[in-house]
């Protein structure tokens, strides 16, 4: 540590989040290093791997510092040119820069790009700026100062007071005030000589959300630091991070971070000479959705079947090994150090009256800028979708957005001005939940969407309680029936009854929220259900069993000259016609697989 820091004139920040890694970010890094060596720039240019940048849509990504120049969708082929032009000769390469849709000129600087411009980074404060595998870089960015402050200058009560004042609420979805929870745990009696536990919930069950993974990958130390502060506040000496095993990169970076922190004495005995002891163990989950539920997670952590149990007692009172346990989500923990170092007042100045600070959303679906965004609470859906997300691709119309993951709800376009916070989302029938945002355009069938999400929750139900186990199965079968055109009017009544009853009587959050997609789609898109049942039609033409495929003979002959492709691809010989002549679908034989529609190059196959 005594040697002087080596001076480089350029730092190339290669994004190595899971998204970019799967887009071959490591090959890009390799190519860069090779090329830099070739140009003898290795003493001038440093290649750094960072955590997820957030703009995953455009991966693999590279940001050049200083200058904040943003390169995107790189391939190995681009590298020699890029190195020579920009890093050697100082001429940034425009064609590798981001050009917003519908525009022609690329935007060279990251902060000028809309996707980044609208974001406020707290939980993701270090993204793209540090190498998550180097603790020094985290420390350089004021890392562990909050912890030092909390351990040496603050009392547990003081920490709790600060968190309470900040208005931080659990980012796991339910939004329980974090400070209040900590206070509960602090005051709850332990039956085992004062032992209390602290758990970080990294079991991100929603397949469409990935902010927890991203934080663990990009900035594991922020979570560790948050946990140490929390431990001091509640009086715990042992903590656990529950991470699903499907996150190998997150696991390895977290484990590395823990090792480094331990080596530096930032974990373990007598942290920073404060006399405070705390250490963290990593527990790998097997990836059950229900294990994101806190009681199920604790069961799993204890080595038992990952099943929820009724609350109360809450984990704060009787959690892991029956001792008071504080469970917070990854993102919550990542927020904690910033609150401690910058103060509750600063934090609570961001956001709305009830929901303070920022929230990370994973923006996916029919949207131009897929990725991870951190925005202040209270920002409208519209801003997220159109300003940051860049709107809907191919100029299609926005229809709805599913927030909160598979058990969240669909919010229709009428509510696009809805300011996003915990309360408003719940009011709209959805929830903050996982922070997932699935954007849907006009081509989406809402009945099918409900069916899709339900098939997920049904599959992930642990099966302990009757409503969730049997109810999701029953709802799924009704929805499947409707999408197949076999629905009756009675089905809608039964579906609503079921949904309400399950929401009301299921054991845990998973069951309580599983009907949300059904309930919200029924609330906002009832006419689509009715069309499916009464007219046996799917307006979005997604439910193939309700489609009628016909060949427009005119187009077929005129444009396609009876190319015969549809006939050759039809599995049931339902298409008649000879090459060069008009083709025709025999409806009795058609199984509505849609292959003819997909293969026709001349749009001659139509759906009615």
């Amino acid at each position: 540590m005594e040697e002087k820091e080596k001076a480089y004139r350029l730092h190339l920040m290669v994004c190595a989040g899971t998204g970019c890694v799967s887009n071959h970010a490591f090959e890009i890094k390799g190519a860069l290093e090779k090329e830099i060596k070739k140009q003898s720039l290795e003493n001038e240019v440093l290649v750094v791997t960072t955590g997820c940048n957030g703009f995953c849509e455009r991966g693999p990504l590279l940001v050049v510092q200083p200058g904040n120049i943003f390169y995107q969708q790189l391939t190995e082929k681009d590298i020699p040119h890029l190195v020579e032009e920009h890093f050697l000769k100082g001429r940034p390469v425009q064609k590798l820069m981001y050009t917003p849709p519908k525009e022609k000129t690329p935007i060279p600087v990251l902060s000028d790009i809309d996707f980044f411009k609208g974001q406020v980074l707290i939980a993701l404060r270090n993204r793209g700026l540090i190498d998550p595998e180097k603790i020094e870089e985290y420390i350089a960015r004021d890392g562990y100062t909050a912890m030092a402050k909390a351990l040496n200058e603050m009392t547990p009560e003081g920490i709790i007071e600060e968190i309470k004042k900040s208005g931080l609420r659990g980012r796991g979805g339910a939004g329980f005030p974090t400070g209040v929870k900590w206070e509960y745990v602090r005051n709850a009696p332990s039956t085992n000589g004062g032992v209390k536990y602290l758990v970080c919930n990294g079991d991100e069950g929603d397949p469409g959300a990935f902010m927890d993974r991203s934080i663990l990958e990009a900035d594991p130390h922020s979570v560790i630091e948050g946990m140490v502060i929390g431990a001091k506040a509640i009086g715990a000496s042992e903590g656990f991070v529950y991470v699903r095993n499907e996150y190998p990169l997150a696991l390895s970076r977290l484990n590395l971070a823990l090792k480094q922190a331990r080596e530096y004495g930032l974990l373990g005995k007598d942290i920073l000479g404060s006399g405070f002891n705390f250490d963290i163990k990593v527990h790998r989950g097997a990836g059950a959705f229900v294990c994101g539920e806190e009681t199920a997670l604790l069961h799993s952590l204890e080595g038992r079947l990952g099943e929820p149990r009724p609350r109360p007692p809450y984990p704060a009172e009787k959690g892991l090994r029956d001792q008071p346990t504080c469970i917070n989500n990854v993102e919550t923990w990542a927020n904690v150090p910033v609150i401690i170092s910058r103060g509750a007042n600063w934090y609570s100045s961001i956001g709305t009256k009830t929901s303070k600070g920022t929230k990370v959303f994973s923006l996916v679906g029919k949207i131009n800028n897929t990725g991870l965004v951190e925005v202040p609470m209270g920002i409208s859906l519209k801003e997220i979708i159109y300003n940051i997300g860049g709107g809907i691709p191919e100029g299609k119309e926005f229809k709805a957005v599913q927030t909160g993951g598979p058990s969240g709800g669909c919010i229709p376009k009428e509510k696009i001005d809805l300011p996003i916070d915990f309360e408003s989302l719940t009011e709209a029938g959805s929830m903050m939940g996982s922070g997932g945002m699935v954007v849907m355009d006009e081509d989406t069938c809402m009945v099918d969407v409900a069916r899709y999400f339900l098939s997920f929750t049904q599959d992930e139900s642990c099966g302990k309680c009757t409503p969730c186990r049997e109810g999701t199965k029953a709802m799924l079968s009704i929805l499947t029936r409707i999408t197949e055109g076999k629905g009756t009017e009675g089905d809608l009544v039964l579906l609503r009854d079921l949904a309400e009853s399950i929401k009301d009587s299921a054991l845990c959050g998973l069951g309580n929220t599983a009907p949300n997609p059904v309930l919200t789609t029924m609330q906002y898109f009832m006419e689509e259900y009715e069309t499916h049942i009464k007219d046996k039609k799917c307006p979005a033409r997604v439910c193939r069993q309700l489609n009628t495929y016909i060949v427009d003979e005119n187009t077929c002959v005129k444009d396609g000259r009876g190319c015969d492709l549809c006939k050759r691809n039809c599995a049931t010989d339902a298409i008649l016609g000879e090459k060069g002549k008009a083709h025709r679908v025999v409806q009795e034989k058609c199984i509505k697989c849609g292959v003819c529609y997909d293969v026709c190059n001349f749009n001659a196959v139509k759906i009615e």
């Binding site: 510092q65 200083p66 890093f87 100082g90 000479g273």
Partner: protein
């Protein structure tokens, strides 16, 4: 590995300040741009750059940004470099050698006094993208 103290945390931060400054565009005293078009490289811009890097490292200067750019247009006077002191107009130096640029670094960047004998002029076209 010895256990850290709060003081050690500060030391680590000090040590890495150059990185922080570089990546986050933090406060810097000066920015030196070496012009490295084909002409510049051909007339020895790499030497200038290397000399600068070595010198900055040796003096442990953490608040000077070192960057490069393409051809500055005055190929006959290469190698060239532009020094921009924070809040001041850029100064372009021409016909540089490793020795000369060290002098510039010493007198101009650290001492605040323009080395007029090598300077082409003060104020020029905008060279910085940001």
């Amino acid at each position: 590995m010895p256990k850290l103290t709060v003081e050690d945390l500060k030391k680590i931060r000090e040590k890495t300040r150059r990185t922080t400054m570089l990546r986050e565009g933090g406060e810097h005293r000066a920015k030196i741009t070496v012009h490295m078009g084909t002409c510049g490289i051909a007339s020895g811009a790499r030497d200038i750059m290397n000399a600068l890097i070595k010198e900055i490292e040796a003096r442990d200067i953490t608040d000077v940004i070192l960057t490069n750019s393409g051809c500055a247009g005055l190929c006959s006077r290469e190698p060239m470099a532009t020094v921009e002191m924070a809040g001041k107009a850029p100064v372009k130096y021409v016909d540089l050698t490793a020795e000369k640029i060290k002098e510039v670094l010493e007198k101009h960047v650290l001492g605040g006094k323009i080395v007029e004998s090598y300077a082409l002029g003060i104020g020029s076209e905008k060279t910085d993208l940001s």
